[in-house]
Point group: C2
Chain length 480, copies 2
């Protein structure tokens, strides 16, 4: 067996472990019975630890080093070159983490993943406080091993946006905040369209049928896709043939499920269109979450809140949800473009959403700068909500407990949502330059043309130029 | 680490692998997208092989041998004594299977598991024929390794009914068949209650809500249970805190989902009530499938088809399924006790069901006696259906392709269903002797008393006397 085959053999095992762990995570978040969750969390810890042990072993690392030698490296295909180079960079860092600590770290994260949904459901901060404190300490310690010379929050941001720093984000977000706060104030002081009239009872099975219809309309390959329910909507992918989203259905608020579905659907479309040949390699994994979020938020906001998205399908929508027959597509369009300061990020409108992200970014920055204690987080959250959105959460489920991200150690992720929104505007500009007016394309029922175009840029044709393409966008953001 | 701790450490890893494999199987059969199924089947093959390698290794076997020495064995607790003795018996057999063959064997089974549902959906025998042929050959070869001195079908039966043989089953089934065929003829020649009037459109979401209600009524701990959809209803269990059933909903035939739910619910109740202390050990695994089926069929037939099961809940049932308001509980009771020769085993009534099993038993016997070729199986199936049930399947989905069992090599399982039905009558007798009239208990809405009683006998109090208890029943069956 040559070195490449040796690596592929080992990666095959790693991929089975990843599949098992991701499926356990999916199951834990969707269908698993309450009393089964601890066992699933334990299983995830076990497989994460096995993966860590296997990939940070001397044997695996030496294989990567052998394959990095120019005479071996150059003849590899592009996916393997990408894989070897990335693994080498990653392993230099990860091999500094002691395995005992890693096992403890994953255990803390998984425990917190089990506690958070219960705390949120009960709106009980005291249930979660200790788990969050442990998570923050564990994350700090982990990053100190991997990036001893960096500020913790910088190394966290790098997990989701390679090459980006707090100071770069500060620059963009501070400028945005300075203009956004008065803009939101100006908009919300005007009379807003009636957002309430769609808050009617729509049975869950109708909402599910509607989501199913919308995903097909967006161009989802339903043979490589599935959908389930969870507390918090998310997307995951077991392979390029297995993209999955979840949703949460509120029978009195159908618009929540509709836009979660379009958002997660954007992520899933991106995942299921990665070229087959990269499946199971690092080349198929997108480590720029701003890019991933740009896809989901492009569908959610730029397409989904456009009346022309809805015009060609309004009759079908009303067949699936007969309660909508009393409304026109114009009324629906108004309702989904209602701007209002609100508590929940995932349900916020396009405009105030940005402030929800800035709030989280500032809190995360404070946590890792050490300028706030964990016990003071609910108060800080409420103060910042008041400062940015002029409202105060009525309970912790509406405040500090609302998001899943921190429960599995995902600090540093939030900025990517807003970066994604910034990229969106640029995509729109580029798409219109190359394809013409998006309103007209949508109105003609040709949404999948847009989809094919954006995927063509990013994935199908030239997946590995993604880095360069993104850098180009970064420069435009940063020079803005 | 002493030998016991060493075994427990190894079993912990084995249990994580089992959990991963079972979850992949569950996912493959329920929610997984079509294009993801091959990867899940590959994952199952991988984990099955790893489990096989680990447990048949010299290291593992030597550990079991060490723990079998009287001075080490005697002080173990009852669960570990059971585990060590059983593992020793099993490993003597399994260690004769070459690992290369095992890997091939599991691959063949998993491939066939992927092909079968497609073949059934398309009613296309030609899609499945080769996979079934490979499966039969692989199963024969496997049994030749594990039980070189036994007839293949005897060793297959033993997988599900330890200590039982073809000739014992022949004796019971031949006698039953001789009396059943004329009995069914006599019953079906009488006017039957109208089974058609409940074949009205009941939306899937109402059927799901009804199943959920029935499971709670039966006493299911919903915090340790979940339910999904699949082509063929089944029960699985990831731990004593994680019993799962699937169902298949036909919107024009609600009675199908109701009785599948009660049947699988009986299995799940049994699984979720195994004492915690046996979880993850062999003592928690019931290798007498007749006993398992006796629980499911007891709920389905003895309780579920009794009008007193329905009387206390009929109002609730009609609230959940408003279409039922036009019927009385008496009409429903008649419809669910309708006897008719029909094509599909899982939907057959209590009486003709027995003939469906005898049909399968006779075909399996012929397959392993070598008196039928695989290509002739559809014809043999149809001839036997005609002989026993006086009808001829109109297509292979109604005939040879209807059951999932053969697709994963589960030959020898079918007799357990009928053995279970035979035990049921004995349980009823015993329960009435100890608790009084079951009709009265049901009519008073006290179904969970029966449940607690039967579990008390079998599991909660004295799980390891199960073998003896079962032998007692065997004797009664065989002496009958």
């Amino acid at each position: 067996m040559n070195k490449l085959e040796e690596l592929q053999k080992k990666n095959e095992i790693v991929n089975y472990y990843i599949h098992a762990r991701e499926l356990m995570m999916w199951d834990l978040s969707t269908l698993a019975p309450k009393n089964a969750k601890q066992k699933l969390a334990d299983g995830m810890t076990f497989f994460s630890t096995e993966i860590f042990k296997l990939t940070t072993s001397d044997e695996y690392y030496n294989l990567i080093c052998e394959l990095s030698k120019p005479e071996v490296f150059e003849p590899l295909d592009e996916a393997m070159r990408f894989e070897v180079a990335k693994k080498r960079r990653d392993l230099e860092k990860k091999r500094r983490v002691p395995i005992d600590f890693y096992e403890k770290y994953v255990g803390i994260l998984n425990e917190s993943t089990v506690i958070w949904p219960e705390a949120k459901q009960n709106s009980d901060w005291s249930m979660y406080e200790k788990a969050l404190k442990n998570t923050i300490e564990a994350v700090k310690e982990y990053q100190k091993y991997t990036d001893p010379d960096k500020e913790t929050y910088d190394s966290l941001i790098e997990l989701f946006e390679e090459g980006m720093t707090q100071s770069q984000i500060d620059k963009v977000f501070d400028e945005l905040k300075a203009e956004l706060v008065p803009l939101v104030e100006a908009v919300t002081s005007c009379k807003q369209p009636d957002g309430q009239k769609f808050k009617i009872h729509i049975p869950k099975h109708e909402q599910i049928a509607l989501c199913d219809y919308l995903l097909k309309y967006m161009g989802m390959d339903m043979d490589s896709f599935c959908m389930a329910e969870s507390e918090h909507p998310f997307t995951t992918s077991m392979s390029v043939k297995d993209a999955r989203i979840t949703n949460h259905y509120y029978e009195e608020d159908v618009i929540s499920a509709i836009f979660s579905c379009i958002h997660e659907g954007g992520h899933a479309l991106f995942e299921q269109n990665i070229a087959d040949k990269y499946d199971g390699t690092d080349a198929a994994r997108v480590d720029y979450m701003g890019l991933h979020e740009s896809q989901s938020r492009f569908y959610e906001n730029i397409l989904g809140r456009n009346i022309n998205f809805w015009r060609p399908i309004w009759n079908d929508v009303c067949e699936i949800v007969p309660e909508f027959k009393q409304f026109t597509v114009e009324e629906f369009h108004e309702a989904i473009n209602h701007v209002e300061n609100s508590y929940i990020r995932t349900e916020a409108d396009e405009l105030t959403y940005c402030l929800h992200i800035i709030l989280r970014y500032e809190i995360e920055r404070a946590i890792f700068a050490g300028t706030v204690e964990v016990e003071d987080l609910p108060t800080l959250w409420n103060e910042k909500t008041n400062e940015l959105l002029h409202i105060t959460p009525r309970n912790d489920a509406e405040g500090i407990l609302q998001d899943t991200h921190w429960s599995d150690g995902g600090f540093g992720y939030f900025p990517s949502y807003l970066l994604g929104s910034i990229y969106d505007g640029m995509f729109l500009e580029q798409i219109e330059k190359e394809m013409g007016d998006v309103d007209a394309i949508l109105a003609a029922g040709n949404i999948t043309k847009i989809h094919r175009f954006s995927l063509q840029i990013f994935l199908t044709e030239k997946p590995l130029i993604l880095e360069n393409y993104l850098l180009l966008i970064f420069h435009r953001v940063l020079q803005h």
